[in-house]
Amino acid sequence: MVSKSQNNKIEEDKDIQQPNQQKSFVYLILNNPAFSALIFLAIFFSIVSDRFFSVNNIINIFTQVSITAIIAFGMTFVITSANIDLSVGSVLAFAGMIFMALSVAGIPVFFGLLITLGIGALIGLFDGFVVTFFKLPSFIATLAMMTIARGLALLMRGGTTISQGVQPSYYWFGQSKIAGIPFPVIALIAIFLVMEFLMSRTTFGTYTRAIGSNPEAARLAGISNNRILIIIFAIVGICSAIAGVITASRLGVGSPVTGQMKELDAITAVILGGTAMSGGVGTIRGTFVGALVVTILNNGLTIMGVSSYWQQILLGLVLIGALAIKKFQR
C-alpha cells in the first residue's frame, strides 16, 4: 500500500514506478489480438493445405498484402483522427486508369508516376477540404468521392480497360523483382517504415492522435486541426494512388472495376490492428498485422477452394467480430 507521507523520500522515489514501462515491441505484438489471429490462421491453413506454407505462396501473400496494407497505412491516419475514407477503392481504380492512359499517351514512366500520385493527392485534398470547410462528416464526403472517382474511372474509356499500347516500363512497378523480391513487397516495406515513423516519431503523428482523441483540446493547444486533416486525406489519396499504380502495373491493364470493396479490406485491417474507430489510438505496425490477417484469410480460403462469395461473408463477420471483441475488452 502506498503511503501518503511526504517525509519518506526514499520510499516514495522507489514508488515512482511506471506501470507501462515494459511495453516493448514484443509485448505490444503479443497484446495485439490480430497477432494471435495471424498465428492461428497460419497454423490452421498449414495443416489443412500443404500448398499454404511454401516459399512461393508466402511471397505471393506478401505481394497480395502490399495493396491492402499500403491503403490501410493511410487509412490508419484517417481513422486515428476519428474520420473514415470510403473512396480508397475507387481512387485505386481511377489512379490505375490514369497511369495506364499516361503510358499510352507516351509520357515517360517517371512523370507518369508523379502525375498519378499527384492526382491521388489532389483527390485527398479535395476530400479534406470538403470535410474541414463544409464541415461534412467524412463518411458522407468520401462516400460521394467513392462514386465520383469510380464514375471518372469508368468514363475514361467508356467502361472498358486500357491494355493496348502500354509502354513496357510501366509494368515495372508490378512485375519486376529486385534480388528475387517482387517490387510491390519492397514498396510495401519502404512505405511501412515511412508511415510507422510518421505516426510514432513526428509531431504530425502526435497531432493526428490528439485530433482524434479530443479535437477541442487540440485546437486550444494551438494545433490547426483543419490543416492536419487535409494533409491526412492527401496521404490516404497518395496511398490509394500507389496501390492503383501497383495493381494496374501487375495486371498490365488499366481496369475501371479494380479495387471494389478495397475500403472494406483496408478498414478491417486497420480495426484488426488495434486502431480505435472512435479515434485517438492507432499504430501502423498493428495495421500491418491486420492487413496480413485479412490477406492470409483470403489466400488460405482460396487455396482451400472456398468460393469468393463465402470469403466476403467471412470478412464481414471478422470485422464485426473484431469490433465486438473490443467492446468486451472495455
Binding site: V2, S3, E11, E12, D13, D15, I16, Q17, Q18, P19, N20, Q21, K23, F197, R201, T202, T203, G205, T206, R209, A210, G212, S213, N214, E216, A217, A218, R219, L220, A221, G222, I223, A276, G279, G280, V281
Partner: protein
C-alpha cells in the same frame, strides 16, 4: 504602460451573435483577478482572445506593452509571450499518454523535426516529481489521461502551465468537478503563482472560491463588464449579495420588457 494585459473596447461576435460588446479589461503584474459571471456572459470569449484561440473584431489589446494584431495573435504567440491557459475539464486528450499531453502543440524535436520522445518523457517525469508532486500513486509519464482522476487531470494541466514558466496563468473554471480537497490544491496553486510574482486570471461561478485568492474582481454580464471591485473594499458576503441583487434586477427588467 504598467499592465501585463490591457484590453480597450474589445468587440467580438461569432456568426452574427455578439459575445463581447466593448470590454475594457486590465491585469497588472503580480495580480490575481477573479472574473465572475453566468454561463454565456462572455468570460470564456474574453480569455480565449487573450490566449490567442479567438481574434477580436474591434478595439485594442496590449500584452506587456506590445500592441497585438488580432489577425496574427495565435495560441503559439500567446505562449511565446508567457501566457498559459488551463481550460475547464476537456483540455487534455484523454486517450493519450501523459507525456504527449504535456508537450502537445510544442513538442521537443531534434533539428530534423523528429520527436525526441526520450527527452519528453524525462521532462514529464521531472514535472511530476517537482511540480505535480505525484509521488507513489502509480501515475507515470506513460499513464493514459483517461485513467486519472479529475483532480489529477487538473494537476497535469496546471503543472503544464507552470513548467512553461508563464507570466500570466489563465484558469477557466479550474475547480469544476473537483472534490473539496482537490479544490484546495488548486487554490494553493493560485496563491503560489502570486507568491512567485506572476499573475493569474481566475474564472469561476463559485464566488466563495474566487474571493480569498483574488486581488480584484470583474463581473461580466452579456458581453459587458458590469462591476469592478477590490477585495480590500468589499466582503465576500457583500459581493455575493450585490451580484445576486444585480441578477434579480436584470431578470425583473427583462420580464418588464417582455410584459
Amino acid at each position: 504602460m504598467n499592465n501585463l494585459v490591457e484590453m480597450k473596447n474589445i468587440h467580438k461576435s461569432y456568426d452574427g451573435v455578439v459575445a463581447l460588446k466593448g470590454i475594457d479589461f486590465q491585469i497588472g503584474y503580480n495580480e490575481v483577478v477573479g472574473v465572475l459571471g453566468d454561463n454565456g456572459a462572455g468570460k470564456s470569449t474574453l480569455i480565449k482572445i487573450i490566449s490567442g484561440v479567438h481574434s477580436f473584431d474591434k478595439g485594442g489589446m496590449y500584452i506587456k506593452g506590445v500592441k497585438i494584431n488580432p489577425k496574427k495573435h495565435s495560441v503559439k504567440s500567446a505562449h511565446d509571450m508567457g501566457i498559459e491557459t488551463v481550460y475547464q475539464e476537456k483540455a487534455l486528450a484523454e486517450k493519450q499518454a501523459l507525456w504527449r499531453n504535456v508537450f502537445i502543440g510544442r513538442q521537443i524535436t531534434n533539428k530534423l523535426g523528429f520527436l525526441n520522445i526520450k527527452k519528453e518523457k524525462e521532462e514529464t517525469d521531472k514535472i511530476m516529481r517537482d511540480l505535480m508532486k505525484f509521488r507513489g500513486i502509480g501515475v507515470g509519464a506513460d499513464s493514459i489521461i483517461r485513467t486519472l482522476s479529475g483532480g489529477e487531470r487538473q494537476g497535469v494541466a496546471i503543472s503544464r502551465a507552470m513548467y512553461f514558466e508563464a507570466d500570466l496563468v489563465i484558469l477557466d473554471e479550474p475547480t469544476m468537478a473537483l472534490s473539496l480537497q482537490e479544490v484546495k490544491k488548486v487554490l494553493n496553486f493560485i496563491q503560489s503563482i502570486k507568491e512567485k510574482g506572476k499573475s493569474c486570471i481566475y474564472i469561476s461561478h463559485n464566488i466563495a472560491n474566487v474571493y480569498p485568492v483574488s486581488d480584484r474582481f470583474v463581473a461580466i454580464d452579456r458581453g459587458k463588464i458590469v462591476g469592478r471591485f477590490n477585495r480590500k473594499d468589499i466582503s465576500l458576503q457583500k459581493l455575493s449579495e450585490g451580484l445576486i441583487e444585480y441578477t434579480e434586477k436584470v431578470t425583473q427588467n427583462k420580464q418588464e420588457e417582455k410584459g
